[in-house]
């Protein structure tokens, strides 16, 4: 018996949950969002951190919770656990982020501890030594991982002399960090102006903001806000081959130009990206995975940073099919750039783009992360409603036009990390190649 696929019911409407926002006297922007699904609260504090020294910034994020004027590292951790809570900090080239969660009944306490850390972190010398050594160990491990190594090579090739080019400190730089420079960095950069705190949970948004205002009123001072120059335009050139001897796979990494979320091309670009390689049912995945079996998880997507956006492609393929996989990649990019998509391809990508917006705001942690990220770009969650409406209107012609502008293989920066001895000659049949320099500089021995 043949059965037919049931139709979808009418599309569900995207609604933004109840939200309140206030800028506190100290300059901190607070956004509180209600989602009462579980008796928890999620917080995301995002502090501008552009151009902070890499090694110092990374060690700071590892030791921010390692002690305050009144608490040891163990006491900070225990006090958080008492309310079912936890906090962690990390950095990227744009910001320092402190994320956490707790039982909702512990929300005031979670904020008190956050305030204590922000206003009186002491960076005890012993903990700094321990944590910087651990960070050095993690970097040493990362330098053996193809994902990390290929990323280093790609960033260097794409960003050149822009600060985004280098996102991991060297082991020597990390080992040189002392508590004094952490205290200085904290004093210079960890202030409420320009920062945003998002809270999401089983709470009343207005009352939650009052709770935040009370807990964080002692946090003050002012940071100098640093603006990075815009990222350079991607400059195509020879395929970069980064050597990883005896690698059993090659990591293909490509970068293409892209635009930010508010640019008029963005909705069409996102749909073009999906049709190309941005989701499983894309041409690239159906080709190099489901047809040819070259790879497990190819993926493409737009990466936004404050100073600009790029489109990146990533696939790890068996060493022996490196050149054929790259050839298919260029072919699929070329097909996107030179021919309009089929109507059903566009509709499928459109439904995916619109539908997954609903999924992204259906959890406390999803809402918190999204609201915090958008805030850094001056956007609020209602951006989703506008974006969804724009996705609904994109035409085939617009996708074709945008694909020609952003997905053209002629514009791609290409990096291949793999066993150069085994892949070099066959990759060179596709286009000119050149050896990588970024890994050699960083590790002193090209990651061998």
């Amino acid at each position: 018996m043949t059965r037919t696929l049931p139709d979808l019911e009418t599309n569900r409407k995207l609604t933004v949950p109840k939200t309140a926002e206030r800028t506190l006297d100290n300059g901190l922007t607070v956004i509180a969002i209600r989602r009462s699904s579980v008796p928890l609260v999620e917080i995301r504090l995002r502090i501008p951190f552009a151009k902070a020294n890499l090694a110092r910034g990374d060690v700071l994020s590892e030791t921010l919770l390692a002690g305050t004027e009144t608490k040891s590292a163990v006491e900070v951790a225990a006090a958080l656990q008492e309310v079912g809570g936890g906090l962690s900090a990390n950095t990227d080239p744009d910001r320092l982020s402190i994320s956490g969660n707790s039982l909702v009944s512990g929300f005031p306490r979670l904020l008190e501890i956050l305030a204590e850390v922000l206003t009186s972190a002491t960076y005890p010398a012993d903990e700094v030594t321990t944590e910087r050594d651990r960070l050095a160990d993690r970097i040493q491990v990362a330098l053996t991982q193809p994902g990390h190594l290929s990323r280093i090579a790609l960033l260097k090739r794409v960003y050149g002399s822009h600060p985004y080019a280098l996102q991991t400190p060297t082991i020597a730089q990390v080992k040189a960090v002392r508590r004094g420079v952490l205290q200085t960095l904290h004093a210079e950069r960890l202030h409420p102006n320009g920062a945003t705190l998002v809270g999401v949970g089983d709470l009343s948004p207005e009352k939650a903001i009052d709770t935040v205002a009370k807990a964080l009123d002692s946090w003050g001072g002012e940071s100098k806000l640093v603006t990075l120059p815009p990222i350079p335009a991607t400059s195509p050139g020879p395929i970069v081959i980064a050597d990883r001897p005896t690698s059993v796979q090659s990591s293909l990494r490509l970068a293409l130009p892209a635009v930010g979320r508010t640019h008029e091309d963005f909705p069409a670009l996102q749909l073009a990206n999906l049709i190309f390689g941005g989701y499983f049912s894309s041409r690239w995945t159906e080709n190099i995975r489901e047809d040819k079996g070259y790879t497990y998880s190819p993926h493409s997507g737009v990466e936004h940073s404050i100073a600009g956006s790029i489109l990146t492609l990533s696939a790890d393929v068996a060493t022996e099919v490196t050149a054929p996989a790259l050839n298919e990649t260029f072919y699929e990019l070329g097909r996107m750039a030179s021919l309009p998509p089929k109507e059903d391809e566009l509709e499928q990508a459109r439904q995916y783009a619109i539908g997954t917006l609903l999924l992204g705001v259906a959890t406390q942690s999803g809402l918190a992360t999204l609201a915090s990220m958008y805030a850094a770009y001056g956007l609020r969650l209602n951006y989703l409603v506008d974006y969804s409406a724009k996705l609904a209107k994109v035409t085939r012609d617009q996708v074709a036009e945008v694909a020609a502008r952003y997905l053209a293989p002629a514009k791609a920066v290409t990096v291949v990390l793999g066993d150069a001895e085994r892949i070099g000659a066959s990759v060179a049949t596709l286009a000119a190649t050149e050896p990588d320099t970024a890994l050699a500089e960083l590790t002193g021995d090209s990651g061998k």
């Binding site: 569900r12 928890l40 390692a66 590292a73 936890g86 039982l103 001897p245 079996g293």
Partner: protein, 431 residues
């Protein structure tokens, strides 16, 4: 701090073909999580066919009775949803998260492959290639690949079911045939061997009607009888090591058998708590001792089950502690120190507030995992399958909260070197 409870409404029923169904209506967002969990996993794959349960999971996405290859992916994503599947020791899951207007479509897709996947030579060979790339990316081309989940079971266990490599050898994967797949489906993928759960924006009555419409005529087949995989506890320490050419730091993982998670849940839960007392955060015992105080480890983790899912595993299983050491670190010293800390805990007891704060944090973790409709649907399905009662879900935070200090100390007393199986990663020549 009082540990809160959830009050998720949970409806359960069974179709005539034996398919068990769990529904959890929740209108807080217009999305649904759909999960189908089959009661077959890595432990059930035949000798000579290591990795077959996982390979078969891939084949369940390659078309089915009314669907061409690629159709499943396109229909889920073309409805605004996401999908995946995963193979575990004791079960295999298939799932989607979708806007709730796609409920009937998701049910249709799952019912269609429950009737039978399209098993062809071409799809099989293609997915063997894909799985080999999956193994290369996750195990062979990186440091610490498969550590410890693939490396420790063969040290701890003696039977093929418990000890073998669940990702599979390339030889076994390449030897797999369409006939093997057809047999595997026939034996293990009966409706009566599965649980369907749907969580999220649904109406119970209409969801039930749709489920009966789409799954009601899936052929009735007998569920296989699940064998016991029991093995005796260790009577003496076991310790092995291997060289990982790409690993820059030494590492060690140890495992100790724990009580049967299903038949002795009360005896098992103290070990779930103990793993967190030892390793959850900067205030935990082993982080303080190994990392902060003695500086002989660079990271430490503790959890239950080789895949780290304490409420989704059956007997036999274990509590695991894994440690990465600084360059040149002394593995013996780390193991000795862990023994010392467990002994100290068993003899001297917990500090004031230590248990309560650990339990509060565990409650947050459990509640947080249940916020996404998919996390809830998966847990409900597995609890229903393994414990015969999905509603245990609502009790988990408080069951953890009810574990007593005496029980944790007794568990710590059982973490002894003579019951331990360990595997050590030795640093190799190339980096």
């Amino acid at each position: 701090m009082r540990i809160p409870a959830t009050k998720y409404p949970i409806e359960r029923f069974t179709l005539d073909n034996g398919l068990r169904v769990v529904l959890n209506p929740d209108k807080s967002a217009p999305v649904i999580g759909v999960a189908v969990v089959y009661d077959v996993g890595i432990r059930s794959e035949p000798e000579g066919r290591t990795g077959f349960a996982h390979l078969f999971e891939h084949l369940m996405f390659q078309g089915s009775e009314n669907l061409e290859k690629l159709a499943h992916f396109r229909h889920v994503q073309g409805a605004g949803g996401t999908f995946n599947g995963s193979t575990h020791l004791d079960y295999t899951d298939y799932y989607e998260t979708l806007p709730s207007n796609a409920l009937e479509r998701a049910l249709f897709l799952e019912a269609d492959r429950m009737r039978g996947p399209r098993l062809t030579e071409e799809n099989l060979r293609n997915q063997v290639d894909v799985v080999k790339e999956e193994i290369r990316v996750n195990v062979l081309n990186r440091p610490y690949g498969g550590f410890p989940w693939l490396k420790l079971p063969p040290v701890m266990f003696d039977t093929f079911a418990n000890a073998h490599d669940g990702y599979g050898s390339f030889v076994d994967l390449e030897s797999a045939t369409v006939a093997d797949a057809a047999d595997f489906f026939k034996k293990y993928y009966a409706a009566a061997n599965a649980v369907l759960s749907v969580s999220g924006d649904l109406d119970v009555d209409s969801a039930r009607t749709l489920i009966e419409r789409h799954f009601g005529d899936v052929a009735k087949r007998k569920a296989p009888k699940r064998p016991s995989f029991q093995e005796p506890d260790l009577s003496a320490e076991r310790r092995e090591s291997y060289v990982d050419d790409r690993a820059p730091l030494p590492a060690v993982a140890s495992a100790w058998r724990v009580p049967d998670p299903i038949s002795d849940f009360t005896g098992y839960l103290p070990y779930v708590v103990l793993a967190e007392v030892l390793t959850d955060g900067d205030a935990s015992r082993l982080v303080r001792r190994l990392i902060q105080q003695d500086r002989i480890a660079t990271s430490v983790g503790g959890y239950i089950g080789f895949m780290g899912e304490p409420f989704e595993v059956r007997n036999p299983t274990a509590m695991l502690l894994q440690t990465h050491l600084p360059p040149g670190g002394d593995v013996d010293k780390v193991l000795r120190t862990i023994d010392e800390e467990c002994e100290r805990l068993a003899n001297d007891g917990l500090d004031k507030g230590e248990l309560a704060r650990t339990q509060a944090r565990m409650a947050t973790h459990i509640l947080r995992e249940s916020d996404p409709v998919l996390g809830r649907a998966l847990r409900l399905a597995v609890l229903e399958q393994q414990r015969g009662d999905a509603s245990v879900m609502n009790d988990l935070p408080q069951l953890i909260g009810a574990v007593t200090a005496e029980q944790v100390l007794a568990a710590a007393a059982a973490i002894r070197p003579d019951r331990r199986a360990s595997v050590e990663v030795k640093v190799g020549a190339k980096k």
